[in-house]
Symmetry: C2
Subunit: 432 residues, 2 copies
């Protein structure tokens, strides 16, 4: 039998500890699947004494993960420290400098330094595998990088943040407000104490930037991702969405347009007759559309120790089996320069909700603005939220395909009308 594949693990939090548990529980099976043993030889973590349910004595201990990446007896370094640069980046760089493969779950790192790390991996002739960085346990990186390799990808999109999907699902099921559900999610451990990273769309944007490079063969371009979170979504919008045949999801979308590559993360009205509308709770889903394969959909758990460790171990197995694939599906030197499309040029349909005074002429004023800004209305519902005459009423409109710049211009002007008593709300409608 071939020599063992030796592995050093940097970071023994939930995912790191679970990765070691998988390797221990399935040691025999993995040896048969790989044709060689996978042996953890070294670990590094903040605390040497924490109880992780297994004994770390058999492993070489390093206080400094970068020193481990340089010096450990390891073919592969698993980076599970996190963070967009700092130690995590130094660990990966040191590993490549010393001729080791890298497996990482770190989306922030790849979103910011993916292209440079891909170059470093290729210069070292080593793998950089990152299945766990996008959509947790779902093997979506493998699907795009290998499974759909016979296609050009036209569009890739998905639900990439389980926290937001949990919050939106719970808001719909219970009618409760964003703040209220967020608080619960924090208690349940589905949301961080500082939720900004998740609920403002940054985490999904990191993952999308990686998917974009994989799908379109461009350098990672996190800076061009348009990101808008879910803080402004109200139970009322969710209710109207249902009436109109939609679910509201935080969707991350990358696609080629005539203006370049769009990368955008924002709440989206998803038609109820699409698979992705039914992806609920903490589940993630990705849709990849290829020119020959047509639409493919992948669903699963996007976070958590088990699913993430499953992805990390799959990456290790690939290395143990001797499989090697360009980091972003083509060699780093062949990645095209980013071609960001201006969000102002985005075209799509829109949902708009206004709170207006209940008096004659208001609708005429609003529709006049739409006409002036060349926004074509598809439907309108006017509904009183209260029994009291004179109270403001909700007006919900949907538009035909229009340009982002036009709808923004129109909403700016509509918000300035005296009869409009609240900042207009806008949610993009997905053409899926």
């Amino acid at each position: 039998m071939t020599q063992s594949l030796t592995v050093a693990v940097a970071g023994l939090g939930t995912v790191g500890a679970e990765t070691i548990r998988v390797l221990q529980k399935h040691a025999d099976l993995l040896t048969r699947r790989c044709g060689r043993e996978i042996a953890v030889t070294a670990v590094s973590a903040r605390s040497k004494s924490a109880d992780r349910g297994f004994d770390i004595a058999p492993f070489d201990w390093y206080d400094d993960p970068v020193a481990m990446a340089r010096e450990a007896d390891a073919d592969v370094v698993i980076e599970l420290i996190g963070g967009e640069d700092g130690v995590a980046k130094a660990v990966c760089e040191a590993a490549f400098e010393h001729g080791r493969h890298v497996v990482t779950a770190n989306k922030a790192l790849l979103a910011h330094h993916g292209t440079a790390l891909a170059r470093a991996a290729e210069a070292a002739g080593k793998s950089l595998n990152y299945e766990a960085a996008v959509a947790g346990g779902i093997p979506i990186v493998k699907a795009i990088r290998e499974g759909l390799a016979g296609n050009t990808i036209e569009r890739v999109y998905g639900i990439l943040n389980g926290t937001c999907n949990y919050i939106l699902t719970t808001m719909r099921e219970t009618g409760r407000s964003f703040d209220d559900v967020l608080e619960d999610a924090q208690k349940l451990g589905y949301a961080e104490a500082d939720p900004a990273f998740d609920v403002d769309g940054v985490d999904a944007a990191h993952k999308l930037a990686i998917l974009t490079s994989l799908a379109f063969g461009t350098e990672v371009d996190f800076g061009s991702v348009y990101a808008e979170g879910i803080r402004n979504i109200t139970p009322l919008d969710i209710e109207y969405a249902g009436d109109l045949g939609y679910r509201i999801k935080l969707l991350a979308v990358a696609r080629r347009t005539e203006h370049g590559i769009e990368q955008r993360v924002h709440p989206t009205m998803v038609p109820l007759d699409t698979p992705i509308a039914h992806v609920e709770g903490v589940f993630n889903a990705v849709v990849a559309e290829g020119d020959f394969v047509d639409t493919t959909v992948y669903q699963g758990r996007g976070a958590g120790g088990g699913p993430t460790a499953s992805a990390v171990v799959a990456d290790i197995v690939d290395i143990a089996r001797g499989s090697s694939v360009p980091v972003f599906a083509v060699p780093a030197g062949d990645l095209a320069a980013p071609q960001p499309a201006d969000m102002d040029l985005h075209e799509g349909a829109y949902y708009v909700r206004l709170l207006v005074q209940d008096k004659p002429g208001v609708i005429a004023d609003v529709t006049a603005v739409f006409r002036d800004e060349s926004v074509s209305m598809e439907s309108m519902i006017q509904r009183s939220q209260s029994a009291d005459e004179g109270d403001p009423v909700s007006v919900v409109m949907t538009t035909h395909n229009t340009v982002e710049k036009s709808i923004r211009g129109a909403l700016q002007r509509i918000g300035d009308l005296e009869t409009v008593v609240e900042t207009p709300r806008m949610i993009r409608i997905g053409a899926l």
Copy 2:
């Protein structure tokens, strides 16, 4: 750059011709993705003169595909002839004997000879790739063989036959009968002139046998698959299913039980709140449940030239990139002997529909049989199908978990009751 990967294609029907089109259209992209050119060098088909939209003159022509597999200037032989043995099998065997990799879309061949072919591939030190054989364009073989390699699979199931799913979807949407919709499907090219292979569940059983080996590391055991098709499904059953919160799908299920490995293909009541209930028309879907990753779901087109060719090309790309994985995820010599569970021992809930005379005591007789056979009833609906008094009435029952042998015994006895005017219908309810 490394030398070209040379490819010989046996069979130039829809999939074979489309495979060559993918390789031609994406030649530059594939060269970058693989680090080497993929060059078709030889072809074989029934007709040399058929118009396929591309010129076959640049390829060496073989009347005999087996001779091609022996003699062609080719690293890889693509078997797209079909059939469970005969020429297709001879092509694969000849390819391995002459040190060539094999890519095939042939589920019947693998269902019948998968283990032997895996041994032949390993003896030759070559790949046997078959992504296109299961669920068409969906990269499900790769997902299980590689993406979920860190898991033991507890259960794998799915909608593996697009023809049946199209027929069931259309029956539900239109209320039309099986025969009627089948006739249309044949006109549209979604069903063969002889539909038995699809509608009796044989095609899904072939694919399931392959998934079972991949998931559980057992020798391919098509002979043990229990298969029941969709010919007996009526619009009335579909309507009742909807009332009870289900969709009827032809589901293929493999799972470990205390009695061994169950492999079964049959119409199944799928709960509406599961992703798979919403997989409609010709689409396929597979659910794989791993001990660490939990539930993962894969959807896409299960047939057609483009999706199937996409899978074939992905298999070629893997070979071009030098990736090599055991055929059924572990070496063929390590595959365990089949451990078939007797279908009589299957446990689950059941839907039962009776047509009975509308008179006192009928229900008492039926429930007495259930009691005698230890079948515990969960619900009952009695509904007159006609306004005329004295006409037979429908009785629909669902059971709690029970054993297949018990329900079959009960239905046998119930069918013999004088007051029961039609053979009882039974559909299994999926616990998904």
